[in-house]
Amino acid sequence: MASANSNVQMTGLDFQDIKSNMIRFMQGQDTFKDYNFSGSGLSVLMDILAYNTQYNAYYLNMVANEMFLDTALQRSSVVSQSKVLGYIPKSSISPTATINVTVYGVTQSSLTLDKFTPLISRAIDGVNYTFLTDDTLTVNTQSGTALFENVIIKQGTPSKYSFVVSTASNPKCIFEIPDVNIDTSSLTVSIQQSSVNTNTEVFQLATTHLTLDGTSKVYFLQEGLSGNYEVYFGNGVLGQKLMDGNIVRVSYISTKGTAAHGANNFSLIQGIGGYANTTIVSVTAATNGNEKETIESIKYQAPKSFSSQNRAVTKDDYITVIQQNQLGLTFDAVNVWGGEENDVPVFGQVFICLKPAGAYNITETQKQRLIQEVIKPISVMTVSPTIVNPDYTYLKLNINVIYDPNKTTQTSAQIESGIKSAIYGFANATLNTFNSTFNSYELMKTVQDYSNSIITSEYDLKLQKKFFPSLVTPSTYKLYYNTPLDKGMFLSGVSSSPSIQFRDPSNLVNIIDGIYVEELPSPTNGVESISMLNPGSQYQSVPTITILGDGTGAKAHAILSGGSIKNVVIDAAGSGYTAAIVNITPQPGDTTGKLAAGVVNLQGKFGTLRTYYNNTSQVKTTFNQNVGVIDYMNGIITLNSFSPIGIDNPLGQFTVTVKPTTSIISSSYNRIITIDPYDANAVTVNVIAKS
């Protein structure tokens, strides 16, 4: 039992702890003796004091938590801590799409497409999204037609606010933009002299403080306590100071973030320059949007931003500055490595590989802007940055599942779609980024955990490469699977889809459709080795080894040890074998040697790829005997002078599927393993009820 104490212990945080400490203190005196009885006046007073102490202790604890970036929970505290580190939390970012706009019947020599011209997308989940042009564009008219190419449009609605500078009512001259959906990369800030003098100047966002002086026309941006962004200006030393009566005008795009990803098929809400006869072609669907930065993300990014000190030197510096770009580009994953790590080392270069949000690759223009506006200004002068596209390897999974229908209320179709979405969730969580590894155990666990009714399951894994062959120029394509490939067997070797068209070389006017690529086991295969199944016994002399098969020239001899065959040595590999067996015959007169048996292993590091089609009589016909090479050991497929003239795919995408020898598939450098969410056949699930 605790002893009486003449000092009050004030260490507890709980009401009961605090009250027991007080009771222990009361035990040390004899003026008041009723401290242990609930109804006593002393007990009432102790309750009030303990409650007050507990309240203050809790409050102080929370205050202390909010004082540090690691423990802060309130957004305003996290933002405030990150401000000390020079970090501005990222706003929502508008998804961006590209379109070509053609206007017909134009009578002027040139036509202008205004900034913020509104367009409307086809509905996504029942919602039509408004998109706006990013800039003002002017083109010359040709034969009454004006063509605006690669017009960048952003999702959102235009918003504007104006504030009058008054040091009396707003002494700090901080102006809050009351819109949580603002895309700050679209923010334009201009200052009008006064309501009488309408002279207006555009101010730029201050990105560095080194070059600022009292006349720099810059504004500063921060997230305020309310979670809205705030604009403020210089003090006359760092940036131009505003005067009373100046009018601050802000305009920006208010966006719905990632909800509009994938939007395409746009139409204009009104004509352009009074011309209503227009057509719009989507070049790229809306991608690259993002939601307002979360508290967790700020906690993660702010210290990294601070440690890079606005310089790109180390690998992490590059990753941080790219993730924080103010160009409105967002990335699911960024990988950076030095050129000296390449297979063929390239010194003095930094390679950067980017996986953009909601898309596969970024455009060349975006690459140039990233290098020129984001990386170059802060990178080491002698190091040249190079942005490479990710090299995607797609997994094609076929899952077979047997389930017990008595243990579930779900139909087999429901189980099938449920497993499919669980697998896509697995892919999003463990793949889809750089330096990831496909974990077959996790995959099977995902399938198995989907429902208790699943008795057993198995999977079959294939790898796919997808590319866009040129339909004009014959080109060589190298597909790196980065894992050893299975040698072709029936239905499991290399296959391609969709069907392609070639010109008939014997008559170039003819076009042959329905052509596919397949693997041809190498006709020059020889014998690599012979493995012994049984060494046999009691051989008196070395038996004769005969190799029989569809090839010719293979020779071998046996090495005998203690009456058994210790080893078989290949003397000549021969050629042209696709199948072979070995006969081991005792020498004439050897009456006791018996039972030796072996199996022939054929060579085959490389294979050939050929194209075939079914002719008018539906007979499989070879179109081209040799279109490329397959390197089984290194997992590389090379298509030489590949010159299709048509592909039966609306996007012109060509897929080559292979079977790997192993299910341990890893990615590094610019490689990403993923399951294609746009390919309905990427995951097939066969669900069978146990009878």
Partner: protein
Amino acid sequence: MATLKKIYSDLDLTFTRNPVTGDVSMSYDEQSVIRSVRNLLMTNFYERPFQPTLGSNLNAFLFEQISAITASSIETEIKNVVNNFEPRVSIDNVEVVAIEDANAFYVNLSFYIGNNTSPSEVNILLERTR
């Protein structure tokens, strides 16, 4: 009446001053216990922090029908609170009388303190103020 001498000592919640010492006045022994019982009766559930069951819910009964049944419930409530929270006391008798005309209950609680042979008493008139 035989009086126990200063076994119990408590603060007086009226916080009146001792006219001689000027210090806050105290209550002792029988007086201290009677005040404690009275405090318990006048405390509602959830009134004391982190001790929701401490007290008796007499307030709630004042909004019930004035009847012998309610009076009986009050009687049980009083017995419960005293038995649960005031170990110094053993109840002799609880008498609750419903006074319909005055819209009030008259409570007379007599109890023994410790080994004291003569009972102490608490008399309260429970009455709605609104």
